[in-house]
Amino acid sequence: MSLRRFDQAKPFVTLGIIVAVWLVLPAVFKSFVRVSFFELEAPVEVATSYARDLQEYWALRMHSNEALVEAGRDLARLNAAYELRIQENTALRGEIERLDALMRLPTFIDYRSEPARVVRRDFSGWWQRLIIRKGQNFRITVGAPVVFTGGVVGRITEVRATTAVVELISSQNVRLAAVIEGDTRPISFQGGLNTSFAPPKGVVEFMPLDIFARPNARKRLVTSGLGGVFPPGLTLGYVTHSELGADGLYQTGVVELDPRLSSLTEVTVLVPLNPD
């Protein structure tokens, strides 16, 4: 009778023993196990990513010649447009440098651009993050800003051997100093409470009272560059709503983020050349 009772309780006893053993294990061992788990798991994700790339490649190979010719033409047009943009940007950069020199503005921290493929996207009430296919092997550093054509994606929170985790700006764990375009006063941007499949949102705090944002008169929010992590002028989103804060001295607001954040396939990590 008693033996049968013990048999029934054996799984719980085993679990209890495992938990007890885990608790008394040294922290170094636990950390090693955790890192090893991620590193062992990483090749699977990377392999999946490569397989997906291969799948896309073969899918493209299935297109007809006419479609490929048409796509080639489109690409040529796009390249021409980009060439023009590059020339314009060069001229504008020169102008900015001239004005910077004129106003004796400090030079900003320089970054090294490191493009990376996205291997996994986590969008849920718990996680707002991406895993990219570059890590320590490309000297990615924790805290580095991550951007895409639409502006800021987020910042690196974990770096592994061949992958890195990007906390998206839609995450509540990301906060940075922003400014309204055309204004110089820094305000606090933080990711909002985002649920699965919902358009990503953020919130701003400490917004001056003389800035009015409405859905039909939204304000572009860009990085301030004052915080020392993100370079200035990168788009974060648009403030679509603002209201008086609890202290009556500042406003709080809602920021609409780029919906493409949830479908990114390629991002660029800005690795600071001279980190603190």
């Binding site: 509540q172 764990n173 990301v174 906060r175 940075l176 100093a177 110089t184 006063r185 820094p186 606090s188 933080q190 400490f206 301030s224 004052l226 915080g227 020392g228 992590v229 993100f230 609890a246 202290d247 009556g248 001295l249 500042y250």
Partner: protein
């Protein structure tokens, strides 16, 4: 059954308990226990059922704490809606002490271990447990502060005494590590501090004065209030932690503190037995900003007056301008003054020392009394005209000296002599003329006239500490206060505003406003109201001809060939009626002169009345009203005329004092 078996059975049978149905002694004990149990149950029932609310309240008071956040103060505007006093956010980095319990504990254990190890190594001095807790808390807080220092490049150290006080008395309140962050520091902190950290950037509000020292004495300043007032709703026995607020100390900030004071916000938290907060709050009410005040001041005129006093004149003094029709004060300036922003968040000892040295605390427009000098001749003139002793045609021949007994009273240097009529006497401010008619009038009638214009009492303006010691002397006053008889010399002095008579510049401005309306009383106000009805008081009691003669004489002061303010008091395109005055006051090292200029404009339809007083700062140096005070009045009137000709720049504001 064998014998042995029967014996065993008999023995064992004897061991079986014998039960009886009723035993009185046992029943008694049952009864007693039942009664005791009933008493106990009844007691419990009584305590739990009839005193439920009492225990519930006791439990609530023991386990809940209230945090009170003062609301921002209301803004103060000038009459055109420009912000004279606002609020600005003040960003600080704070540490939530109540989230550090585990860290404090770990640090304490570590410190205790270290001390025990050290004691083993022959070091017997071991601090008490309380001391080790303090050391542990300071060490933990310093670690967090070092994080902040590293980010913003400062080297701030923990103030242990302050930390201990905050922890003991205000554990639930955020502990401020660094106040008043610069925008860049704030940006660096929000970008680099972990989002979920006991370290947070926190905003408080503080007063902001866009015009710095403009109207500083009138606006007043605030000080930090460690115990802000709460409404009755919070007086329910709960332990309340109050964040620092501010309270008006002087000027409008003090006078209208009850209006400006914001409505505090409250949060009620449940706390654990150690007093640490358990989130989220049980109740939360957001703070509300206090009500606004729209003053009657016109900041353009105020700045014009102050700029002239500070840059051109560079002497202590006061300037007041009043809307003749309504009594609304347009300018109330006093120099030297202070920059109100120096009081935010608290004034430094060096600034206090500087203000003491410059004697900048006092509002000379209404906190000090001064002999009005020759401006008082207008009172003598009105009294004489009303009594018939003096007429516009009255002529007195002077050789610029009037002897009363053995004492010679002289006219000012360069004064006209010979036959002096009323107009010339006012225009050139001839002392001997007014002494002559003053003596004919007698002191009682002159004093009565001054009292009719309310120069003997405070104006009642909405500012604290308006002086009450103004003096309009007469024989009865002298007898009562000094125990001395009144002499003709006293009358002579009184007739041209010297001797015992003392008034404030604000009173003189009110007197001018009354004179401009042909009345006797003006109640000044610093609150602006659209469509405020014109003031009405007793008429001046002069015939139209006499009144006209008086005003003409005053206009000649500015425009006449012998006018004492000719030039400095003249404003192109504006007819000004004025009167200069120069009085003397005994100070250490001699006598200083006080320069006055009072009047109103435009003469044809008065709208603005003014009084300017400039104090000489060098004993025995001449400071005439025309030279020193009239330029300030001209600055005010020039700006006033410019604005009048330009028309209203913005539509008048219509604020509600009560939101």
């Amino acid at each position: 059954m064998s014998f042995q078996d029967s014996q065993r059975t008999a023995r064992s049978g004897s061991m079986v308990e014998a039960h009886t149905t009723f035993q009185p002694r046992v029943f008694f004990f049952h009864f007693v226990i039942a009664v005791l149990l009933l008493v106990l149950i009844a007691g419990f029932a009584y305590q739990q059922l009839t005193k439920t609310s009492l225990y519930h309240e006791a439990e609530r008071v023991q386990s809940q704490r209230r945090i009170l956040v003062p609301g921002p103060r209301g803004n103060i505007y000038d009459r055109e809606g420009r912000t004279l006093v606002g609020n600005r956010g003040r960003l600080s980095v704070i540490l939530n002490l109540d989230e550090l319990r585990a860290e404090f504990r770990r640090e304490y254990l570590q410190i205790r271990k270290n001390y025990r190890d050290a004691r083993d190594a022959d070091k017997p001095d071991m601090p008490s447990s309380a001391q080790m807790w303090r050391i542990a808390r300071a060490a933990v807080v310093q670690r967090y502060l070092d994080q902040v220092n590293a980010i913003i490049g400062r080297e701030v150290r923990v103030d242990r005494a302050h930390l201990h006080r905050s922890f003991s008395q205000e554990r639930l309140l955020p502990y401020t590590l660094i106040e008043d962050l610069a925008p860049q520091e704030y940006a660096q902190l929000i970008e680099r501090l972990p989002v979920r950290s006991p370290l947070q950037v926190f905003s408080t509000n503080t007063r902001e004065y866009p015009y710095g020292s403009a109207a500083a004495h009138t606006i007043g300043y605030v000080r930090i209030d460690s115990d802000p007032e709460t409404d009755e709703a919070t007086d329910d026995g709960l332990t309340t932690f109050k964040m620092k607020g501010s309270i008006g100390v002087n000027g409008l900030e003090k006078q209208f503190d009850h209006i400006l004071q914001g409505e505090p916000g409250t949060s009620v938290f449940r706390v654990d037995p150690d007093g640490y907060r358990i989130n989220p709050p049980l109740e939360k009410r957001l703070p509300r900003q206090g009500n606004k005040i729209v003053t009657s001041l016109d900041i353009d005129l105020q700045l014009a007056a102050e700029k002239c006093m500070e840059v051109e004149i560079q002497n202590p003094g006061a300037a007041v301008a009043i809307d003749v029709r309504t009594g609304e004060v347009l300018v109330l300036a006093s120099k030297p003054d202070y920059n109100l922003n120096d009081f935010v968040p608290r004034i430094s000892a060096s600034t206090v020392a500087d203000l003491n040295a410059r004697r900048a605390w006092s509002n000379l427009a209404l906190n000090g009394v001064f002999p009005p000098g020759s401006t008082f001749k207008l009172i003598t003139a009105i009294a004489g005209l009303r009594a018939g002793v003096l007429t516009p045609e009255s002529v007195y021949t002077t050789d610029n000296v009037y002897r009363v007994g053995k004492h010679p009273f002289r006219d000012h240097r360069g004064c006209v002599s010979g036959d002096i009529d009323f107009y010339l006497a006012v225009e050139n401010s001839v002392n001997t003329y007014f002494i002559h008619y003053g003596l004919l009038l007698g002191p009682e009638r002159i004093a009565a006239e001054a009292r009719r214009f309310h120069l003997h009492e405070p104006t009642g303006i909405e500012l604290p500490s308006e002086v009450t010691r103004m003096i309009v002397p007469d024989p009865a006053w002298k007898k009562k206060t000094k125990g001395e008889s009144w002499f003709d010399g006293d009358t002579a002095n009184l007739s041209f505003g010297q001797g015992y008579v003392e008034v404030t510049p604000l009173q003189m401005a009110c007197f001018m406003a009354s004179l401009a309306r042909g009345e006797t009383h003006t109640r000044p106000t610093l609150i602006h109201e659209e469509n405020r009805p014109p003031q009405r008081s007793a008429p001046i009691g002069l015939s139209a001809e006499n009144y006209r003669a008086l005003i003409d004489g005053m206009e000649l002061v500015v425009t006449g060939q012998h006018g004492s303010a000719r030039g400095p008091g003249n404003v192109r395109g504006l007819r000004v009626a004025g009167k200069t005055g120069t009085a003397q006051r005994e100070v250490q090292g001699g006598k200083i002169e006080l320069a006055w200029f009072v009047g109103f404009a435009p003469v044809e339809q008065p709208e603005i009345a003014f009084a300017v007083l400039i104090l000489g700062d060098t004993p025995d140096e001449s400071y005439s009203g025309g030279r020193y005070a009239a330029p300030v009045a001209r600055a005010i009137l020039t700006k006033w005329l410019e604005k009048k000709q330009r028309g209203p720049a913005t539509p008048p504001v219509q604020f509600n004092l009560r939101r």
